[in-house]
């Protein structure tokens, strides 16, 4: 054991124009840009990095199969701790937990967490679904639009059990857009109304176009190092107070309860217990919003609302700027950016809010933040509770 305390010390995301990276940059160079900016903001350099965690969906088959090895070479570092786990969009909340464990165990002192995607520039995304092999041989032949169809079925079941409605989801889309309007790097900043969401084309009922996240490029970096190291550095340390994770299924028909998100319930409980905190201790929440329904199910799963009562929590624009429950303050995957795996941007926005760097969209007095990522088709969940206070 190192007896050192892991903290988040720097973050960065890459600029986007109309959802695309600048100058046709490639997926490795955007990650390097984010890494260098995040390290610099923390007062560190690449030479300080001895841990590397990276995931993604590029260059498979090929160098992307050994993504942490490939990125280590590109960055010119020789990490003593590295990881390219993929549990979907929630991977980054898991990475923070793993980085903390690695630092506590003395495996590394400064861990760089990276993500990049140029899926929009490459036009590589469609609804066709996964190769019909292994568990997907029981799904792909039936044409479910992927992944939206699985989320749509979860919402249909939630409506059936709890009486939530498409308006519930529209509240989330509109509130998230209002936050995006205060983020200069957000892709979608036009006005959006409840009616416009509910009149947008159905993609996979009951989900409509404006219930779905954007499809953009994007890249980001998070630096995890030690409190001892940060003493001389530029930023206030952000402590990793608690974390938890869970996976229940991959194939949507195997989801234990489609109206209740067990992965969020279990991951969240573990994170709260580890942090010794309750919901009222959390100042700001960043939740994976691949779809509006992801947010509704996650709020209930994490216990911010009782099962079926998420609709009351998000009603009347309660999660928008000025509301009682500031949520997804960057504009989220719905309006800021969604480059395939969004979870790193939850951490980046939480850190910026904790540092008070968010300008117009800054929430007053933020000392604790909860980030919860979702991967697959409501398949995996990972929670992190972060705080500027150590005790």
């Amino acid at each position: 054991m190192s007896n050192k305390t892991p903290v988040i010390a720097g973050v960065a995301d890459v600029p986007l124009v109309k959802g695309k990276v600048l100058n046709g940059e490639n997926v490795m160079s955007i990650q390097a840009n984010a890494a260098l900016e995040a390290l610099d903001s923390a007062g560190l350099t690449l030479a300080d990095v001895d841990g590397l965690m990276v995931t993604g969906m590029w260059a498979v088959p090929g160098p992307g199969q050994l993504m942490s090895v490939t990125m280590a070479e590109y960055l010119g570092i020789q990490p003593t701790f590295h990881d390219c786990t993929n549990i979907g969009g929630s991977t980054f909340e898991l990475f923070v937990a793993r980085a903390a464990l690695a630092i506590e165990a003395g495996q590394a002192e400064t861990v760089l967490i990276l993500y990049g995607s140029t899926q929009k520039s490459e036009r590589s995304r469609n609804l066709a679904g996964r190769a019909p092999v292994f568990n997907m041989q029981y799904e792909t032949p039936y044409g479910m639009p992927t992944p939206v169809g699985g989320y749509a079925m979860a919402m249909q079941r939630h409506m059936h059990e709890y009486g939530s409605t498409p308006e519930t989801l529209a509240e989330i889309a509109v509130a998230t857009r209002k936050w995006a309007k205060m983020n200069d790097n957000a892709t979608s900043r036009d006005d959006l109304t409840i009616d416009e969401v509910m009149e947008s084309p159905v993609i996979s009922s009951p989900l409509r176009l404006r219930d779905c996240c954007l499809v953009t490029d994007g890249g980001g970096a998070v630096v995890v190092t030690t409190k001892e190291r940060v003493k001389d550095l530029k930023k206030k340390p952000i402590y990793i107070k608690g974390y938890g994770e869970c996976a229940t299924h991959w194939h949507i028909a195997q989801m234990p309860d489609m109206a209740n998100l067990d992965v969020a319930r279990i991951a969240g409980q573990r994170a709260f217990e580890m942090a010794g905190m309750t919901h009222s201790d959390i100042d700001i929440v960043q939740i994976y919003d691949s779809f509006t329904v992801t947010v509704l199910l996650t709020l209930e799963g994490l216990g911010f609302a009782k099962p079926g009562e998420g609709k009351d929590l998000v009603a009347n624009q309660n999660t928008a700027p000025g509301g009682n429950f500031p949520l997804n303050t960057s504009g989220g995957g719905l309006s800021y950016a969604h480059p395939g795996m969004y979870g790193i941007f939850l951490l980046i926005e939480a850190a910026r809010q904790l540092w008070g760097e968010c300008g117009e969209r800054q929430v007053a007095g933020v000392k604790t933040a909860l980030c919860h990522g979702t991967g697959g088709t409501l398949s995996s969940g990972a929670t992190c509770i972060l705080s500027t206070e150590e005790g």
Binding site: G129, Q137, P141, Y142, G143, M144, M153, S205, A253
Partner: protein
Amino acid sequence: MYEKPLPVIDSDSRPFWDGCKAGKLLLQYSKSADKYFFYPRPFVPGTGERDVEWVEASGEGTIYSYTVAERAGPAFQDDAPFVVAVIQLKEGPRMLSNVRTDSPYDIKIGDKVKVYFDKATDDVTLPKFDLA
């Protein structure tokens, strides 16, 4: 010529797809666990019992949840709107499939369904469902 994706049949799934070809919906059952399960595996998921046998299911079930796909991948777009559903089989397991109907938006959770077999190729027949 069938141009949609077909299951890549493997050692676990061969008996299931052979059953569909013969007009039978097969599930696996463990006597010691007293449990039916799907999709096919050589042990009971979660508990590991090995006394797994293939049994013919009733083919009856209810709609646990569903979606009407208005947009889909290239191979399916011309079929839209169509229904994708998770079927709660009478024996317990859930299965994803299509429900055949001319009025997709009239479908409801809880509707009773019955399997039918849709021959795709000489090798593959897909189990799909009609409203019962």
